[in-house]
Amino acid sequence: MNTYRIHSFCRRVLHDPNFRQRLLETPELALKECTLDDTERHALLSGDVVSLYQNGASAFLLLILSRYCLFGLELPIYNARMRSLRGTQTEASAEQRDLP
């Protein structure tokens, strides 16, 4: 997984309201505007913040997806998925990540 692409995507969500709207209305179509591989596209479309985080994506930036309820990531769902990582190896190695 190329985390820079995921991070750039999250940043665009925050700063480009038209793109955000397209993602809410037709997520699969809107994602075709982005350079992503199949794994990255699938993880985003399924709101799989666990695998995105485990593969090194920044939680700080992933939270943007929940802020705008993209990919079914309303806060209770985002919160539960992210909290499921507590005490796991991923959390233990957090300081080794590229980004928080």
Binding site: H7, L14, A59, F60, L63, N79, M82, R83, E95
Partner: protein, 280 residues
């Protein structure tokens, strides 16, 4: 000669804007900021330096600075859709910004400089509460508190003391105040968030110990303890402590006049007077 007349440290929690708008004077946060604002109003500085960290808004990972100065003639924000915050335009104290840039590079701090930039909540949450008319020109100093490798605490402390020295060598009659912003323990969006929330405070004891070192002026102990690993234990934005540490390099070993703990949010508020107004 210019001088630094006061120093402040405050949080920059984005949700404060909407929370205070909703709860007014009943909000403890409103009261804490009002206490700091009263001190700042009394000091009445000519210029403000903001020591803070960008959150992937002013800069991004295509070109991420360890230390940066904003040297445009003005800036705008918030650039990150901070809920309910008005859009502000703030004058940048460009002569001061350029003085800092040349002096800091001369003193071995290799700063990046941006001549066109906007700012996010790290600059504007403090200003929204402390100088809401935006009448005092600012210089934003950006420290990388988020993206490893972070600058060391030792270097940030020395950055603060160098800023103080270079201001005192500036042949202008300005009275400058410094505001640092950031949390002491905070997780945003990561596994350590609290149930149902976007954030968590993983290490309130660390935050409390930091405040103890401020009271006792044990800056050396704090700088030694603030390793990247230790700050990361306090949350994924625990590195924002570096903004506070740079400020301590400016205040030197002197106890804050005001120190307010907000442990439930991993935050604190502090104020130091560094020179008497009539000495200016």
């Amino acid at each position: 000669m210019a001088e630094i007349v006061a120093a402040y440290a405050v949080p920059h929690t984005p949700s404060f804007i909407a929370e205070v708008a909703k709860n007014g004077v009943a909000s403890p946060t409103a009261g804490f900021f009002a206490t700091i604002k009263a001190h700042l109003d009394e000091i009445n500085p000519d210029l403000l330096i903001l020591i803070q960290n960008d959150h992937f808004n002013t800069f991004f990972l295509d070109n991420w600075p360890t230390f940066a100065l904003g040297i445009a003639d003005k800036t705008t924000g918030p650039s990150d859709q901070t809920p309910e915050m008005p859009q502000y335009e703030v004058t940048v104290a460009q002569p001061l910004a350029r003085h800092l840039l040349s002096s800091l590079v001369e003193n071995d701090f290799d700063f990046s400089a941006s001549q066109e930039f906007d700012v996010d909540h790290a600059v504007l949450v403090p200003l929204h509460f402390l100088t809401p008319t935006m009448a005092v020109p600012i210089v934003p100093v950006f420290i990388n508190c988020l993206v490893p490798p972070l600058p060391t605490a030792r270097r940030c402390y020395r950055l603060g003391s160098t800023i103080k020295t270079t201001i005192e060598q500036w042949r202008k009659p300005y009275r400058v105040a410094v505001i640092a912003s950031g949390s002491l323990s905070l997780e945003v969006g990561g596994p350590l968030i609290e149930p149902g929330k976007t954030f968590g405070v993983p290490d309130p004891e660390w935050a409390s110990w930091i405040l103890d070192t401020l009271r006792s002026c044990q800056h050396n102990e704090l700088v030694a303890a603030a390793t990247p690993e230790r700050m990361a234990q306090a949350g994924n934005v625990g590195g924002e402590l570096l903004n506070w540490i740079a400020l301590l390099g400016i205040t030197g070993r002197r106890e804050p006049e005001i120190l307010i703990n907000q442990p439930e949010l991993g935050n604190a508020f502090a104020a130091w007077t560094l020179a008497k107004r009539d000495e200016a």
